[in-house]
Each structure stands twice: as C-alpha cells, then as structure tokens.
Subunit: 422 residues, 2 copies
C-alpha cells in the first residue's frame, strides 16, 4: 500500500486537530493536561472519544472498568479482534501526547483504512484504556490489567486517593463498577499494538523516526532508611557522629558509580530524599531515600541489587548507622512479541525510514498485554525526552510517521493476512 | 570560702525546685518547654523570675527590649555591675536547662551570697535575657545584642514570625518597645558570666564536671543549590544525566571527608536537603542543601571554605550541573576573657574539681558580651549531649557544681576584689 503526498497532508492536518482536541479535556492555564481516573475531565474525554468513534463509523462500547472500545467489524465474522490504542488518563499537569497519542493514532489509522479499503477481514478495535499512570490511586495499569484479568476490582476497591475518596466510590460516580457494562476481562484479543512517545531522548539524539521496542525494562523500587543519631551540629566532633546524611551520600555515590560500571543499559535513580529533623544546625538522625533501578534482563537486575545492597550494609555499618531496605516494586522485564516487531521492521526497512530497535525504560500497557497476547510497542521521538510535563512535545511529522506505520501494520494484519480463511 | 555539706544539701534541693518551677512556664504534654520571644508563656516566665528576684531582695527591673535584671546593690556605690545569667526563651519543644540554667544559677548564687555574706562591694545583677535562640523571629541574640548595642529595634522591627506577626507588634503586645522601660543599651557592665549546659557529650564522655570555655567557634552557614536536568528515571541513560542528587551526594561526601582531614576541631554538617521534583521515578533537576561549618580559628574556617568550594565547582561541572552557593551566616570565632577563665581555673584546681578547658561548638550570649566587656562561659555536662529536646538532662549534682563555682567567682569578684577602693 502507498500513502500519497496528498493523503499524507490530510493525515498531518488531522493529527494536529486531534492532538489539540483531546488535550482540551483537562487542560489547565499553564497548558498542562490533568485527566485523573474517573474525574470529570476524564469522563468528558472518554465521552468525546466515544463520539468520535461513532462519527467514523465504529461500534463504540465501554466495559465495566471504564475502558472504551471502538470496533471496526471484520468481514470474516470472527469474534477475536486486533487491538490498538493507549491510555486516556494523565499524570497531574502532564503533556498532550503521553497515552493520548496512541488513542489518536488508532482512531486516525482505522478511519484511514475504512475510508480507503472498506471493512477489514478481521475485527479491529481502537481502545482508550481507562488508566495506566497510577496518579490518582496507588495502582498502575488498571485499564490493561482489568482487560487481561491481572487486576480485579476486589483488590482495587479499598484503595483511596489523596482526598480519601475510595476507588469503588470514584468508579461508581463515573458510572462504572455497577455491572451496567460488560465485564472487562477479555478472551478474544488477537494482539495489541501500542504507539507511544518515547519519553526519552534516544531517538531524537540518534536521528531515528521510530523506535521498535524489543524489551520493556524490569523495575525495582526501594525505600532505604539510614538511622544514625541526631545531634548538635556544633558540639559533636566529626569522629563521634552517626550522621545519616553522610552515610546516605556515600551510599548514593556508590550506587551511581556501580550502576554506571555494571551494564550499559542499567539505570539507577535516587529521586527522593528526606532528612530528620531536617534543620541546618542538627546532624540528621535519619535519612530516607528512594531507589529506582531498571534493566531489561532480570538476571542483571538481580545480581546488581544483591551486590549493591551487600556493599550498602558495609558502608552503613562503617558509619555506625542502621540500614533498612524496603522493596515496594518489582516488575519483571518483558520481551515484546518477535513476530510483531519483525512486521514493523520489515515495513520500516522497505520504506527506508530510520528506526532503532530499542529497550523501553518506561513501563507501558503493552507489557501487561504481552503476558496475555502478542503485543508490540512502537515509539516516536520525544523532544529533549521531556515527558509528564506541559513541555512534552513531538513534531507532527514524527507523529505521522508512527501513524503511517500503524496503518501499514493494521493493513497487513487485518486486510492482507488470513486471506485463506475467507 | 567553704560551702558546707549542709549548705550543699540546701543548694541541691533549691536547684531541683527552681528547675521544675521555671520549666512549668511553657511546658507541654510531652514534657518539652516552649517559650517563644514575647509569647504568653515567655511573659509568664519573666514575671515569675521578676517575682522571685523581689522575694530574694533584689531590685528587679526591665529594659525596653524585655530583658529582666535583678540587682543586688554593692556597698561601694559604683554604677557598674557584674552581670550573670542567660536567656529565658527556648526553641519549640526544648528542654528545661538550655538558658534557664544560667538564670537559675544566678538567682541561687546571689541569694546564697546575700544570705551568707550580706551586700557585696560591687553591684551584682542577675539577668534573664529576653532572647537568644532565634526560634520565633529570624534573628538571634536579641537580648544580649540590645544590651551591647549590637542589635537595634530599627533593624528588627520589620521581621515577621511564621504566622506573619511583625516583631514590633509582638514586642508591643508584651508591653515593650514603647519607651515604658529604660533603653536596653548599657555602658555600665563590668563583666558577664554565663553558666550553660554543654549541649555536647565531651564533658560526660571525659568524666569532667566543668567546662571552662576558652573560645566559642565561628560559624558559617551556606545554602548550596545544584541545578541539573530533571528527566525520566527509566528512559535517560546514565551517561546523559545531569543528576542533581548524584552531584550533591559527591559534594557532601567530599565535604565530610575534607572536614575530617583538615583540622581536629573542624565540624561540617549537612542538616537539610531538598530535591526537585522529589519523585521516585524522576531524576532530580535540583538539589538544595545546607552546610554548617564551625571552628574556633577564623583562618582555618576561611581556608577550608575557600578550598572546599573550589573543589565543589570542579565536581559540579564534571556532573554537568550548575552550582550556586549562598552564605547566609558568618559569625566570627570569639576568644573568651583570659582573666576570667583563669579565675575559674584556679578555683577548680584548688577545689580539685575535674574540668576541661574547651571550645564551645554552639553559640551563646557570652560571645556577644565578649565583644563589649570581659565575658566568661562555663559549662556543665549534658547527658548524651542531647539538647533542644525534652530529653535534655543534666544531673542536679552537676548543676550544683556549676553553681558552687559561680558563687565562688562572684564572691571573689564582688566581695573580695576592689577592697582598696573602699
């Protein structure tokens, strides 16, 4: 299939329009977007996407978790569907592309295919997943997790948001969780294809248009507590101190050094630190900091953590401090479907579009689907890697390259393949 | 002069009683004491001390800053006075000894001398200084500073406390700053003698009863801002990061190492740190931390700071971060009056009381007086060095050793000396 220059121009215009349209739901004065799960703005956005789905001739429907689907029915009458999309929720004061791009891409691709090639052989569904970020309630991947059966309302219902509103209450206020819509768990999904902004700087720096994700990293998160002895900053000689900040500085320094030396793709971040009592003239008695460690190989993650925490114990003890390490997240690395990545690669090679086979350092809905059905994750560049910010930006020409790729993948999967089944 | 076992017993009882009595003003449920400058509890405490002064036959009077004096008039009719005391204000949820001990010591010593030896040759005044801690308004040594003329209402009046109450407003509500009382500036002080708890662990660890302070350290305080680049913790390779926390950890580590190696008495503390945006999954774009550096030799302080900040610049630049260093406190070291410390030393040697000539790592009113008149600072042990806490504790026998020393110093200065002037 060939997309003409004229058709490309039309796609470009349509992308610009839809990005602005979807960003208008939850937009604030600083041009950031906030669509917290089940909030008013979230509801308005889902209703708008539903309306758009109907306008382009899709059969739109919700499940009882609040996921929204738009089905382009296949001519073969099969039940199963090829799914594409991403999440509608955002972080607080986020950008216009994270999540939204995957939904817009699905809408535009399916509309294009329908207008130019009529109905496919296989069903295609565009999905606007209800939740991925974990920004309102302390749980991520509620949308993809409820479709794949990995998350259940039973566990989620008791969660509360920062204002104390219970999950089930928020859900019911938005009209879900009452059995009005079908159960979210699906058994009829052929595969899942997600377009997303990279949220990193690799593609832009390397001058690539598309990232074909081979792995999504595993993530471990820890809270490290160093307990020393709070004391007067003037009257306690250096040699007598059990300074929690001093110990923490050495631990962080060691972590960073080791992370750099252990494996090229390993990343370690200390994003939060808190001292007690946190006064300029008092030696800190306690330092609490976060560690986020990611790599695509579970074995590398395991070995690194084993080794670094052994060294941590030695450093803490040398400072006369006690160490407590609490692991509160352990997500395994995920290998994306080889068959699907190969389809993308062959299209990109044929079209001579510069791409990079890469690892995703961020988590995405694709990793949840990947444990359930073949799944593929495709990136477009993020300007300067900025994300979760009103400054998140991807050029429309880059967004379009991703959508053209999606059109071609869906064409191959839903229009060309399975011809022998007709 | 000899203090008999019976007299000592009476002193012991009196100390126990007065410590509890003064701690009752501003005491909270957790047994901490809060007497913020000009607050209700501060006023009640000053009124109670005033009453006590009158009961023991002193001439009690305030100055217009709120300092309270109790004069035992000398027989020689001189105008000038030997001053002893400390500050009545406390930090929030502080202990019962910091400041209070010096006032109680003065009251008990003068009462003892008056009862056993009648009126002195020279005037003695016990002072309850209105403010030292800087806990309510961002200014320390208001009491001693207003007496010595180093602080003026003109500069202080515009300060505001955490609730936005202006200094002059708080002052007037407490009845001061309106010209009702004499101007605080004095020109008639012979010398100042302050008893205080050590607020450190040196005396207790070394088994000494009294610390004779030869120097009070100089203090410099800085706020260091490290500006890097905030980025996604998963999608930004280690080599591309401008991680403000990583840079800060190396700077803190370097500071501590150098402080230990530079001079035995040098102390450096990082008591506060704050990251932005302070999220577990975001590389910090900014780290702001405090530095407190103290030493008794201005030259050592100067050289250390020059050297360390040169090294800081190199480290920050290696991390690709920008560094801003703001010095917001620079108190010079103070050498206490040699003549007065020698009087203490000779008494302590004669009485065979174990003492230590030492540096004070904390600031005290004595350092303000020392720039104005001969001043002496004497310590008693602090259990475990704990201070600014409800757990602040000094054994009554240790408090008594200090008060016996004060009685003997005052006797020598006000009763024995100057006999030829009669």
């Amino acid at each position: 299939m060939i997309i003409s220059a004229e058709q490309s121009m039309a796609l470009y215009k349509q992308i610009e329009e839809l990005v602005d349209w979807l960003a208008s739901f939850g937009r604030n004065e600083s041009n950031g977007v906030t669509r917290s799960l089940y909030s008013k703005d979230w509801q308005l956005a889902q209703r708008a996407v539903e309306k758009r789905m109907k306008e382009i001739g899709l059969h739109a429907y919700y499940d009882d978790a609040g996921n929204l689907f738009g089905r382009l029915p296949g001519r073969q009458g099969h039940d199963s569907a090829i799914l594409t999309g991403s999440h509608i929720d955002t972080v607080v004061n986020g950008g216009k592309y994270d999540g939204a791009y995957g939904i817009i891409a699905g809408l535009i691709a399916v509309q294009y295919l329908k207008e130019h090639y009529g109905l496919p052989k296989k069903n295609i569904e565009v999905v606007s997943l209800c939740e991925e970020e974990g920004s309102r309630f302390p749980m991520t991947y509620w949308g993809s997790g409820s479709i794949t059966g990995m998350k259940s309302l039973e566990k989620a219902q008791h969660l509360a948001d920062a204002e104390g509103i219970r999950f089930v209450e928020a859900m019911q206020q938005a009209g879900f969780g009452q059995g009005k819509y079908p159960d979210p768990k699906r058994n009829d999904i052929d595969c899942f294809i997600e377009l997303h902004i990279e949220q990193g700087e690799v593609l832009e720096r390397e001058g690539k248009s598309i990232g074909v994700v081979s792995h999504i990293v595993g993530q471990r998160r820890y809270t490290v507590t160093v307990a020393g002895e709070s004391n007067h900053a003037g009257t306690t000689p250096m040699g007598w101190r059990k300074d929690a900040m001093h110990a923490a500085a050495e631990l962080i320094q060691l972590l960073m050094q080791q992370a750099k030396e252990t494996a090229p793709d390993l990343v370690a971040t200390v994003g939060q630190i808190h001292l007690e009592p946190n006064a300029a003239n008092v030696i800190p008695g306690k330092a609490v900091f976060s560690i986020d460690i990611r790599h695509s190989d579970e074995c590398v993650l395991f070995q690194f953590c084993e080794e670094i925490f052994k060294q941590f114990a030695a450093v803490a003890s040398r400072h006369g401090t006690r160490l407590h390490i609490d692991k509160w997240m352990d997500e395994k690395p995920v290998k994306m479907c080889k068959g699907l990545t190969e389809i993308s690669e062959s299209i990109l090679k044929r079209e001579q579009i510069p791409f990079k086979k890469m690892t995703s350092g961020a988590g995405h809905d694709s990793q949840v689907f990947d444990q359930f059905c073949p799944a593929s994750l495709l990136f477009v560049p993020s300007h300067k890697g900025i994300s979760h910010s009103p400054y998140e930006f991807t050029r429309t020409e880059d967004l379009e390259k991703g959508i053209q790729l999606l059109i071609k993948i869906l064409y191959q999967l839903a229009y060309e393949d399975g011809g022998n089944e007709q």
